[in-house]
């Protein structure tokens, strides 16, 4: 197994994501610089949190033009697993790999806190059987207010593409949506941070269960209920 964590200028949860996989799960993990044009051999591409390009213009709007994103499109198109956390989710939405968009929190303020999240039955890997009905993950974002047009929303719900919903909505997201997948089920994105929920002193260790579940799309043995 090999995990690729992308690094954009302004990524600042790259090390958190690295340690989630390398230390938390104990799987081989490496960084890929955004100026690369190839991902190399990998089983999961992680786009970490942060402020790629300072979130200037719009979060994710510049990062989606980085050279590496060509390879990410190609990889996702072939069914490869891609997982965006926080800013990574924003970039995937901007890149058109996930539906919807993320705008400023309704409060107009950044929010850092730990949220209760309802797990949705979102297909064969990401579901309550794998994760339980509720998990707790920290959030840290100023622009996590998920928006999508009515038709898009309807198709999200019909196709069961919503991964997680906030129990108490911290940012104004439509439908309390905290994370979604693409229709094909190989690209995942969420505002909450599994990379802040894996150490023994973290508010929960549900982050490990989340990434195991995502990896189980490729490695079925990864499925395990979180401790």
């Amino acid at each position: 197994m090999n995990i690729a964590v992308l690094q954009f200028p302004g990524s600042n949860c790259d090390q958190d994501a690295y340690h989630l996989f390398a230390t938390g799960l104990g799987v081989p993990t490496r960084y890929v610089w955004h100026k690369e044009r190839s991902l190399g051999e990998t089983d999961l591409v992680v786009i970490p949190g942060g402020f790629a390009y300072g979130d200037y213009l719009r979060c994710g709007a510049i990062a989606r033009f980085s050279p590496i994103m060509g390879a990410v499109h190609e990889y996702a198109g072939k069914g490869g697993l891609v997982f965006g956390i926080c800013n990574g989710f924003q970039i995937l939405c901007e890149a058109g790999l996930l539906p919807g968009a993320l705008i400023r929190n309704r409060s107009l303020e950044y929010r850092c806190l730990t949220c209760d999240l309802a797990v949705e039955d979102a297909g064969p890997v990401f579901n309550t059987a794998a994760l339980g009905r509720r998990i707790r993950l920290p959030i840290g974002h100023g622009e996590g207010n998920y928006r999508i047009d009515a038709a898009g929303r309807a198709s999200l719900e019909t196709n069961r593409q919503v991964l997680l919903r906030y129990v108490e909505n911290p940012n104004g997201s439509q439908g309390d949506i905290a994370g979604v997948r693409n229709e094909e089920g190989n690209v995942f994105g969420m505002m909450p941070h599994p990379d802040r929920a894996f150490e023994r002193f973290h508010p929960s260790r549900d982050g490990l269960a989340v990434v195991r579940t995502i990896l189980s799309a490729r490695f079925p043995k990864m499925i395990r209920r979180s401790a």
Partner: protein, 768 residues
């Protein structure tokens, strides 16, 4: 004489009015002429004015600061040695063992934040982060210490909102967690808020870098953002009082770009990791290019020549005065090993940042600046640094102390509380913004990035896991300073700032290691202000000596005055403590019913300087609480020993609001417990002093019922007063028996007032 400058603006004669405008006294100007042996050019006058400002030269405080201990007596070969001392570099560094060290420092951005709170606070964060990574350290945490006027004023609300948003904007984007802080609201800060920001970084001993220019012929690089006209003369601006005209100084406030800073951190750390490439490095903070060039040259005992035409500029037509004095943010000066220019340039190309070769290290001992082929400044570097004037200011004990220091509640005929009064007073104290939960503030800060935050904001101290190579270590950090105490008794107030900070760390399970301080005071030319400064510094020095906590760096911010007068003296201290084992980490929250509550240090008995007097009676008077350093040390040593023995479930220090506030706050954790206490057996002259007095050296701990007897016995043996005062309960109530009768509150109601107070004050209609 220097050759005439073709630019008539730069060529203008130096008049007394121009000298005054630059904040230099006539005597000081004479000294400038002596150092140069001629009249200065306008550019040189500007350079002297910023380098000799209080902000850069410490001209009014340097003699006082010599009293601070800068080394740790109890250091061992593998722990606690001060590797870079206070005043030597941008930040001090202390050994934490196994070849690793921490660099940390606090710095103020008070004046810019008063004028433009968002950018002022943001650039304060940016500046302190640069002070840390310029030492070679990776920044791993931020804290801040904020002071505002009372929150009932619209001006204060605007300032609070702006400052918090600015800190969040910068810290969140650069990806350094803001793990703690302290905030007070008091009229004395109305119009002159304090914004002190601290950064801490980690590094290996062999990664320590210095701001030194050495090696004849080595190239001088300018890296980072381009220079603009922003922040012109910010250091000089910080060294005068705020007035109605200060808003016109807005160009002296800089604008921050945290994205640029993030790139700069990564590029600089990458560059510094290349063996032998970097000879010296310094950030361009206050006084920008001026300060970084002459300080590096002065430290290296060398000279430096720079060519301003090669400095990246984002505005056209900037003259040498503007380029030298600009305080544009996110810039660094790097002295590189000759012949290795290509290596540094390739690192900065990777990060798409400027890296311009702007000059050379010389052996002349002079700073020579050229623009458009003309020499615009030629100054001995030592004149700007060591040659700065040093003053012994006059100190006079303020007259108000004659009244306040002898005030007693009995003498003033202040009626004691009855039960109904006590019932209401606790509610009032818990919901006053100074005591209330700061959640509205810290939820806007990313306090979890870098995934090492162990104790989140809201407890006595922030606790962070440091990842040091393959190993990990835990540290705690706390800020403190009650300006009210310092106003009423500057020496004692400073002692209290230190002992309370140390007590907070011990409550978290940490052994105090080293301190950084931020001295926020009024205009030192007023003898009463200088008295406060002198007495506070004496107090800090005394406490640091006593507890063997060296000062590894700090900052002085004077002239904190608005037209209404000076702020309360505020010598903010921030101490880092070391936690031996993860299991020693202790929080302030009682986790379950049935725990026994033990008060260490005896019953509180003083009312002077208390929040109770301020909030309930509207008085800022009395003497500050007494401090007994040996007793404080016995208490702290005892508590740490009990924590290490695994006997303490929760610990919370008694501070603002005294015993009842501390007891309430212990119930505001995640587990929704209540408590029943019996205080009727405690000796107390007055009920108000017992419940809300702020006597020092007190800690409330929760211990298992089975351990209570052992803890009480151990306290007796250690010479620490200890009283079992009650238990935690599952009934959701806080009930207290006093000599007058029973008091009771639903915990949920107290908690609501405490949790929602600031949030309610800051609410904006339509937004949630």
């Amino acid at each position: 004489m220097l050759p005439p400058n073709p630019d008539p603006v730069l060529n203008q004669p130096i008049t007394p009015a121009l000298v005054k405008k630059h904040g230099l006294l006539p005597d000081e100007y004479e000294k400038v002429r002596e150092h140069l042996g001629r009249e200065p050019t306008l550019t040189e006058l500007g350079i002297f004015s910023v380098m000799w400002s209080e902000h850069c030269s410490y001209k009014n405080t340097r003699p006082l600061l010599r009293g601070f201990p800068t080394e740790k007596r109890g250091a061992t070969a593998n722990f606690g040695r001060v590797l870079v001392k206070a005043g030597e570099e941008n930040a001090g560094i202390i050994d934490v063992g196994d070849g690793w060290a921490i660099a940390f420092k606090i710095e103020s951005h008070n004046h810019p934040s008063a004028i433009e709170p968002f950018e002022g606070a943001a650039t304060g964060v940016g500046g302190i982060i640069r002070d840390i990574f310029t030492m070679g350290a990776r920044p791993v945490l931020l804290t801040n210490s904020l002071r505002f006027g009372e929150l009932d004023s619209p001006v204060t609300k605007r300032l609070l909102r702006g400052v918090v948003a600015g800190i969040a904007h910068y810290g969140n984007c650069v990806g350094v967690p803001t793990v703690g802080g302290d905030v007070y609201f008091d009229r004395s800060y109305e119009g002159n808020p304090l914004v002190n920001a601290l950064c801490l970084g980690t590094l290996r001993h062999d990664q320590i870098r210095r701001g030194k220019a050495t090696g004849l012929g080595n190239p001088v690089y300018y890296v980072g953002a381009a220079t603009g006209r922003d922040g012109l003369g910010g250091a000089a601006f910080a060294s005068k009082e705020l007035s109605a005209e200060s808003a016109s100084d807005r160009p002296a406030v800089q604008k921050g770009d945290p994205f640029m800073e993030k790139l700069l951190i990564e590029a600089c750390l990458e560059m510094m990791a290349v063996p032998g490439l970097v000879v010296g490095i310094q950030d361009m903070g206050a006084a920008g290019l001026t300060c970084s060039t002459c300080e590096t040259a002065s430290r290296g005992g060398a000279g430096i020549e720079i060519e301003l035409d090669r400095v990246p500029q984002r505005e056209s037509g900037m003259n040498s005065y503007e380029v030298m004095l600009s305080e544009s943010q996110e810039r660094m000066l790097v002295i590189v090993q000759l012949g290795r220019e290509r290596e540094i340039e390739s690192v900065f190309e990777k990060w798409d940042l400027h890296a311009a070769n702007v000059g050379t290290v010389t052996d002349t001992g002079r700073m020579v600046v050229r623009q458009h082929g003309t020499v615009v400044a030629d100054i001995p570097t030592s004149a700007l640094t060591d040659g700065a004037p040093v003053y012994q200011r006059e100190a006079r004990r303020p007259a108000y102390l004659d009244e306040t220091s002898i005030w007693t509640p009995e003498g003033a005929g202040l009626p004691d509380l009855d039960l109904a009064g006590a019932q209401a007073a606790l509610r009032a104290l818990l919901s006053h913004p100074t005591i209330a939960s700061k959640r509205w503030i810290y939820r806007q800060y990313d306090h979890m990035v870098q995934h090492g935050t162990v104790v989140l904001p809201g407890s006595d101290a922030g606790v962070v896991r440091l990842r040091l190579g393959e190993s990990e270590k835990f540290i705690a950090i706390s800020n403190d300073c009650n300006g009210r105490y310092c106003y009423l008794n500057p020496h004692r107030g400073a002692l209290i700032a230190m002992v309370e900070c140390l007590r907070n760390l011990v409550c978290a399970g940490a052994t105090p290691l080293a301190m950084t301080d931020n001295l926020n005071f009024g205009n030192p030319y007023k003898p009463e202000n200088f008295y406060q400064l002198k007495e506070c510094v004496r107090g800090l020095a005394e406490a640091c000596q006593f507890f063997d906590v060296p000062v590894v760096g700090g900052n002085v911010s004077l002239y904190n005055e608005s037209p209404d007068g000076a702020i309360d003296p505020t010598p903010t201290v921030s101490v880092v403590g070391f936690i031996e084992k993860e299991e020693h980490i202790t929080r302030q929250f009682v986790r379950a019913p049935g725990a026994r509550l033990v008060l260490l240090g005896g019953a509180p008995a003083e009312l002077g300087g208390s929040q109770f007097l301020g909030i309930v009676h509207g008085k800022k008077t009395g003497d500050a609480p007494a401090v007994d350093l040996p007793a404080e040390k016995r208490l702290q040593d005892f508590l740490l020993a009990q924590i290490r023995a695994g006997l303490v479930g929760a610990a919370h220090d008694l501070s603002e609001g005294g015993l009842m506030v501390a007891l309430s706050e212990m119930l505001f954790g995640p587990d929704r417990v209540g408590a029943a206490a019996d205080l009727s057996g405690l000796a107390a002259p007055r009920l108000d002093a017992l419940l809300f007095g702020e006597s020092q050296g007190r800690v409330l701990v929760a211990v298992a019922a089975d351990d209570e007897a052992a803890v009480l016995a151990a306290a007796k043996a250690a010479g620490v007063a200890a009283d079992g005062i009650g238990s935690s309960t599952g009934d959701g109530k806080l009930s207290v028996r006093t000599a007058l009768g029973e008091l009771a509150w639903p915990v949920s109601e107290l908690r609501h007032g405490w949790e929602s107070s600031i949030e309610t004050a800051m609410k904006r209609p339509g937004l949630s």
